[in-house]
Symmetry: D3
Subunit: 158 residues, 6 copies
């Protein structure tokens, strides 16, 4: 067996067998940051008031993407998610941080679901503001916390 779990000894991709794993509660938290011009951030925050559709669109796109993860990532197992939450907040005058928190009770973890939710929320933010700032950059997309399953707790370094 290769150390890359989705690849067998012959180098072929497969969806690895998780049938013998126990169902456990699982949580994953991923984050990403969208870097933009200061004027863009001002517009996004302004455009979010009073109706709020700018950040609402990002949150909803993130939740819906979490549910589509196994359709996007070829070797990902389908999972019945029990919770998805997306938080979006400015962290400086030119950066918006997106945090995605996903839970399930199942045989595999939800790292990919959390990373996919954060990424698609960030892409949606790009889409909402690209008419004014094509130079936005999506930065530091990464897993920050994982709980549950045999491999146990993982927490990213600060």
């Amino acid at each position: 067996m290769s150390k890359l779990s989705h690849i067998d000894e012959a180098g072929a991709a497969h969806m690895v067998d998780v049938g013998s794993k126990a169902d456990t509660e699982r949580l994953a938290v991923a984050e990403t940051t969208v870097l933009m011009q200061q004027e863009t951030l001002t517009l996004i925050i302004a455009g979010d008031l009073p109706k709020g559709d700018v950040l609402a669109a990002c949150r909803i796109a993130g939740v819906m993407a979490a549910k589509k993860t196994s359709d996007l990532i070829p070797l990902c197992h389908p999972l019945a998610l029990t919770s998805v939450k997306i938080e979006i907040n400015p962290i400086s005058d030119c950066e918006i941080k997106i945090i995605a928190r996903v839970k399930t009770r199942g045989q595999t973890g939800v790292e990919m679901e959390a990373l996919t939710a954060a990424s698609v929320a960030a892409l949606t933010l790009y889409d909402m503001a690209k008419a004014v700032d094509k130079g936005m950059i999506i930065q530091n997309t990464r897993l920050i916390l994982k709980e549950g399953g045999k491999s146990g707790r993982y927490e990213a370094e600060k």
Copy 2:
């Protein structure tokens, strides 16, 4: 009209009307970089031989994601893509760069398709190697080139 094109004067999200735009040839190129441990990169390159399913899975996931963009990004117009190409190459002993190049002939650009393709290829790379390196980071996802349409050519700064 808000300067955020998907948001109307009342703050509500909508799919903006492109019916009066001309059909033109459009190209967009996006890139992203996956930062990982040196041992992980070695395993990926090794795991890619002789059958190649590791990077093949990333390329194929990227192409398929480009086609799903309007299903992922809420206000994105559906487009009949005429070409999608994903290039994946190591650029240092701990970084793999992914470049997605998308074309269409239509009424709106394909920036979101290129960014989505690059992002999903990167997420797939994370998925392939997460058993050995949960700390991988997806960096600098951004548009590097756009051609066609009324707003003309855009090229990112180096």
Copy 3:
């Protein structure tokens, strides 16, 4: 916490955490009625013989839509449905009633699945007959029965 369960105290949409809910057998029944001209109803019934593709298309579209509910309704949890049944019957010379009955064993109810199945079956009926009657109206789409889960049995007033 807002009384609207998908909205948190800050007004943000999320997929509410059902991880602590018990798996129970759940049933939901929804109905809708399509109002049309008498001639249209006659054509639909006639067109349904001998091959039956008109109402078969509606039943099948309803079943398939039930399975897509979590992809359509942004904050709906994905569920592994155990049964979907669509009944379609004329109830007057210008009305066809559609009843959708959905079951699962899981942590959340299947009201949305039943309502979505009934709605899409009705939309399909509109699509089948719109060449002859664009004025058809879909009426009284509503939940009529719900069983299972902590909130218990719900039955609509007659």
Copy 4:
């Protein structure tokens, strides 16, 4: 040929051939009304402030559903929509009206896309508020305007 255009002379369902139709600008507008208790409407309006995710979720679900119409309605042609706009407004102290406006340039009309968008926006509204009011009813889902194509303009009676 049956008068039901999706059914051939033998009664079999097919996707009718539109290859010889001209590409023309097409518009369809559909509406639906969600009837609820007065307290529910008050909560929805309140829940929509300050972040607005309640009605934003409905608008976004409606736009995304318009893009999925050919995946939901079995015999519907796939179309590249050029515009989708959802308006949601209270029209009494217990009714919220949803209007969906869809455009394309193509060989078939967008009635089904407008009706699907309005229906899914209404179902999403039900989902957002069902914890407080399971008795909400979706009423009068219908086409109100259609322009373009050989069959010309259609406007519903008031």
Copy 5:
């Protein structure tokens, strides 16, 4: 360039560029045959009367699959189909033949759409009857006719 058009000179898969191809009318016809026990065929024909949902389900599944082809076949271009027709007929006392006929006006052919429609209709037939005959075999899935495009007319040998 490799002779396999989806593979570039380096062996990497991509969605080949069809942007310079002309839009032409395109037709493809594919067929497949499902071999079963005589009793199974009798049940299917009987089960198709009077409501017809058995073969209607196969026809509808075939039409819907044609529309999903670019989502299933990784390097297939998305296309706006203008016509899909599925014919299903017994050709002996233990064989049912399925013919799928697909048209578009576009830059690439619809061979994959016709083959996918025929295959999914056959799989649906298997699903409908598998409770009584798990030994059914899907035979001779192949392209029988292709028209339009630069490579011109193709007709399979009898």
Copy 6:
């Protein structure tokens, strides 16, 4: 009840109720063979080196299709697959055999998932090589093994 399990006594299609079935481990194995010209097989094998995207694309398309089965086959229950493996090997100088092996723990079997995975992998192989050989034929798509569930083990005759 009809002997065709998806059809009720009135001939109507429904998704049969499996709610009372026990969750058991389930396995299904399906196979298919793609018949082609000798030169085509040589090209495919050559094109698979050194990067391997030809057969990798088929394997990945097969795995992804297994996950989409309930979206393709109208009356199929959605299932959380625990393992999918596709093997692709030449078995003569003009035939490539594809074997799909699917597992789950659930209330219904995975025959349709295995057959769908094998079929879509074969269709993808056709797509990869159709530029050089439109006459390829997909042969003998069938279930070869099924384990688990009340109906017990099934093994196809050689």
